[in-house]
Symmetry: C2
Subunit: 357 residues, 2 copies
């Protein structure tokens, strides 16, 4: 495990995407989001994705130089077409548009269509929240069906993620950010490797029958929505908002038939911001101010684990396994970049990013 300074990881990520024809501002947007995901502890949405994105660029599934076009632009709504640009960059543009409209008019709804993979939604909703705007976001299931509907024997849903963030002034936002399926692929692989069962209600076997044996999943089984019929309902709503409402299927050129739906409300839409913030302090203190259950140290707010990881990694650097760093170095070398000249390595436990002398 090596620890990299966030700025160094940002630099190498930007350079790699620039080397395949991405304008610097777009490459930097993508790097912003990938590094933010690492800082939040969601390494599966970080530089591990670079090889896949480069592959998608070669296949035309991401157009690195594409710039989003705003097709509808009213005082409180916008429809953004990404022309298959990087999902991270297109979604940042849409986030900032929704944020600006909400700050001006109290509320906004934005649809985004024809864009690449966005990754972790919290990166966008938290960006809005840090500007004083409550944001909700969902992404449709463009990919193969993986999740069975409640009462179904075969999959018909994606992982249909949703996110909500609410501002807390200078404190970290409260953020809900998750797939509506019960378990992540990574956790299934881990349980399989350890020979351990997964929690009840996470998966079904290939016949659609409930199981807790991860082997059943890898033998043709499927994911369940989290929380039974309640999570199923949420998965459906996410699918419908990002699909039929956002309207991604109207753009036949889109390679990923998936859309993004965002709504945004200014935190001072209904009363002065100081009253909102005071109430946020009071209510969040009430929610978390109970004794922990056996086996827990604390009651945490949604998003608090990520915020803690963010603070720790800003200080200690982002830990990357040797094999990930080797892959990154190889990708860079293949593109004619010298990763060492970019000052990527940082001593484990080091504080601030290294600077070139």
């Amino acid at each position: 495990m090596r620890h990299l300074a966030p700025a160094a990881l940002h630099r190498i990520t930007t350079r790699i995407f620039e080397a395949v024809g991405t304008p610097e501002d777009i490459a930097s947007d993508v790097a912003d989001v990938l590094v933010d995901n690492h800082l939040a502890g969601h390494d599966s949405h970080g530089v591990l994705r670079i090889a896949q994105y480069l592959q998608w660029i070669r296949e035309g599934r991401i157009v690195p130089h594409a710039r989003p076009e705003v097709l509808v632009d009213t005082s409180s709504t916008a429809l953004v077409r990404g022309h298959m640009g990087f999902g991270q960059s297109v979604a940042l543009v849409a986030t900032d548009l929704a944020t600006a409209k909400a700050k001006r008019n109290g509320v906004a709804a934005v649809s985004v269509v024809d864009l690449g993979h966005t990754g972790r939604l919290g990166a966008f909703t938290e960006r809005a929240a840090r500007q004083g705007v409550v944001m909700f976001m969902t992404v449709g299931s463009g990919g193969p069906a993986m999740t069975v509907p409640f009462g179904g024997a075969e999959p018909s849903l994606g992982t249909n993620p949703i996110a909500f963030s609410l501002p807390r002034g200078s404190q970290d936002p409260v953020t809900l950010d998750y797939a509506t399926s019960a378990i992540a692929n990574g956790k299934l692989m881990l349980a399989r490797a350890k020979g351990e069962p997964v929690p009840e209600g996470s998966i079904v076997d290939r016949e659609g029958a409930p199981t807790t044996d991860p082997e059943d999943y890898f033998a043709g089984g499927h994911l369940l929505p989290f929380g039974g019929h309640k999570g199923y309902a949420l998965a459906v709503i996410a699918d419908l908002l990002a699909g039929p409402l956002a309207g991604a299927d109207s753009y036949s050129g889109a390679v990923m038939e998936t859309g993004v739906f965002m709504f945004a409300v200014a935190s001072d839409a209904f009363r002065p911001e100081r009253d909102y913030l005071r109430a946020m302090d009071a209510v969040t203190a009430r929610i978390t101010g109970v004794p922990p259950a056996p086996g827990f140290d604390d009651v945490l707010l949604p998003g608090e684990p990520e915020a803690r990881t963010h603070r720790a990694r800003l200080n200690d650097g982002i830990p990357l396994p040797e094999e990930t760093l080797a892959e990154l170095t190889q990708i860079a070398a293949d593109l004619g970049l010298d990763i060492d000249a970019l000052d990527v390595p940082l001593p484990s436990g080091g504080g601030t990013p290294t600077r070139r002398q």
Copy 2:
């Protein structure tokens, strides 16, 4: 069990509330919602509540003649103060305001404060959906804490319900409508009576330790959010939207310190309605078009069980236990109303409401 015509149940409900000083239009609004809840099969949010509401009127917790006041009214936002009027009536006014704004400007956010108990949220979100508007709604926890946060040993949340409805033209809307707690009180009482365990992850005992024994709940235990940490996050978001964002705590006269937050988007905000409806048909057919799992007849959309019950009860009448009907008759008699003269009883299985000759 007796079956009453919806119109008859509406009439007696309206007359009872009129008899305690409620203007006819408000009494009729309240009856609309209570009868709609029965039609949806949610009898716990129907006429069973009348005795409690009359008690609350006597205590000043509902002001039957109060009319809502619109304190903020912009093109896309509104803040409605209920002056402790019936929650059902105030929320209907707010729903129609949000619907009208969304139809005019694409999107709306509405906060409602200082109102009585609203009951089932789907009654409001479906009303918006039947007018072509996607609606999200949440109600804050004004009452005592009943639900423990994830990792907590004592309760700090309410049951924090949320609802989403999306229109489907002349078909029933897709509706998510539930408490973010894992189990309803009624189901706990039923399990206790049968001596059966409740599903894992529903309740904790008085020490905050997980249990499936309903006796542990009635011995000082508490509810869990549905779906573990994911449902907990949703409960917190619901609490914060309807609380700090909606701003109910700014109205010190309010007896119930709970607010309502609504978000509305026109279904044609991003493309022509016919394209939206076509995509809704396609996506809902894809989601439900898989074989059912063992033990299930069908894969249903969220809200479909309620819609089926609605159709059946429109035809067969609303079943009420004899004791509920006796209580209703007594309440009416105490107010000087002759329930029989109101044509309440309807032969079981009868079709249309009886009419006075």
